[in-house]
């Protein structure tokens, strides 16, 4: 099975999870998702957290929004501040 085909199946899997329930009892707080982007926890914790975030149709967009804020403003700070 090609990588593209696997990606499509995975995307559909997440779409179905999103449609079949929005119980977020097992989701980490947004502060922990932010710590993932800043690499603040040890590797095992980060892997466990990523494992959830990448399989959760609700945490994934939150992770992306935090990452976008971090990247967009961080790049500017690195290039313009002394």
């Amino acid at each position: 099975m090609s990588d593209d085909r696997l990606r499509r199946s995975y995307d559909m899997l997440l779409a179905i999870r999103a449609d079949t329930g929005n119980d977020r009892g097992g989701c980490p707080p947004v502060e922990r998702i932010a710590s993932l982007i800043r690499r603040e926890e040890d590797e095992d914790s980060r892997l466990a957290l990523l494992d959830h975030v990448m399989a959760c149709p609700f945490c994934q967009p939150e992770f992306e929004l935090l990452r976008v804020a971090e990247r967009a403003s961080g790049e500017q700070a690195r290039t313009t501040d002394p």
């Binding site: 099975m1 990588d3 085909r5 696997l6 990606r7 499509r8 199946s9 995975y10 995307d11 559909m12 899997l13 997440l14 779409a15 179905i16 999103a18 929005n22 977020r24 947004v30 502060e31 932010a34 993932l36 982007i37 690499r39 590797e43 095992d44 980060r46 892997l47 466990a48 990523l50 494992d51 990448m54 399989a55 149709p57 609700f58 994934q60 967009p61 939150e62 992306e64 929004l65 935090l66 990452r67 976008v68 804020a69 971090e70 990247r71 967009a72 403003s73 961080g74 790049e75 500017q76 700070a77 290039t79 313009t80 501040d81």
Partner: protein, 183 residues
């Protein structure tokens, strides 16, 4: 008074112009919806205005200050959404469902759902480091992004991804899903 307000507004536009451009570019590329991006920009603008008040202070704010404001604004946007129990919009990546067409035949749909279930189960059988990397890859992240997030070298990331995908295919094959599955 109105003139002062215009000057503050222009200062905010100026300070946020490049940030807004980057947020829109990166955000849309990574599947965020327009409303996610605009909510974030609005929150950053509001915070800078409340904290700095004058056009001089806004124009003099270092980029690192804007950075800290942007990150805490994103956190607050998400906290508020969770408090209101809003369901986040899914990332707008090309969905497999659209590939099937609007009204796929029922038997094709059943096959697809079985396949997704098996992909999900096979993924959970991978060892943790490979599993996370493969999930990121299947979610659309490139090797460099994965390496950056995990603080790994590119060769280490490539190796774990290659082995993870290979394990995944082996497990799918053991479940009866061959390379030709649902092309």
């Amino acid at each position: 008074m109105a003139e002062q307000s215009d000057q503050v507004s222009q200062a905010l536009d100026q300070v946020l112009a490049r940030f807004a451009e980057r947020v829109r570019y990166i955000g849309i590329r990574h599947g965020l919806t327009g409303s996610d991006v605009e909510d974030l920009l609005q929150e950053v603008r509001l915070r800078l205005w409340k904290a700095l008040e004058s056009d001089e202070k806004i124009l003099g704010a270092p980029a690192s200050y804007v950075h800290r404001t942007a990150v805490s604004a994103a956190l607050d946007v998400l906290r508020r959404r969770r408090a209101r129990r809003e369901t986040p919009a899914r990332l707008s990546r090309p969905s497999g469902l659209s590939v099937l067409g609007e009204s796929p035949a029922a038997d094709r749909m059943v096959e697809e759902m079985e396949l997704q279930d098996q992909v999900g189960r096979a993924l959970e059988q991978l060892i943790p480091a490979r599993r996370s990397v493969v999930k990121m890859y299947l979610s659309g992240y490139g090797r460099e992004e994965i390496a950056d997030l995990l603080g790994w070298t590119e060769p280490k990331t490539r190796n774990l991804l290659y082995r993870g995908l290979s394990d995944l295919r082996e497990k799918l094959t053991a479940m009866g899903i061959g390379p030709e599955a649902l092309q």
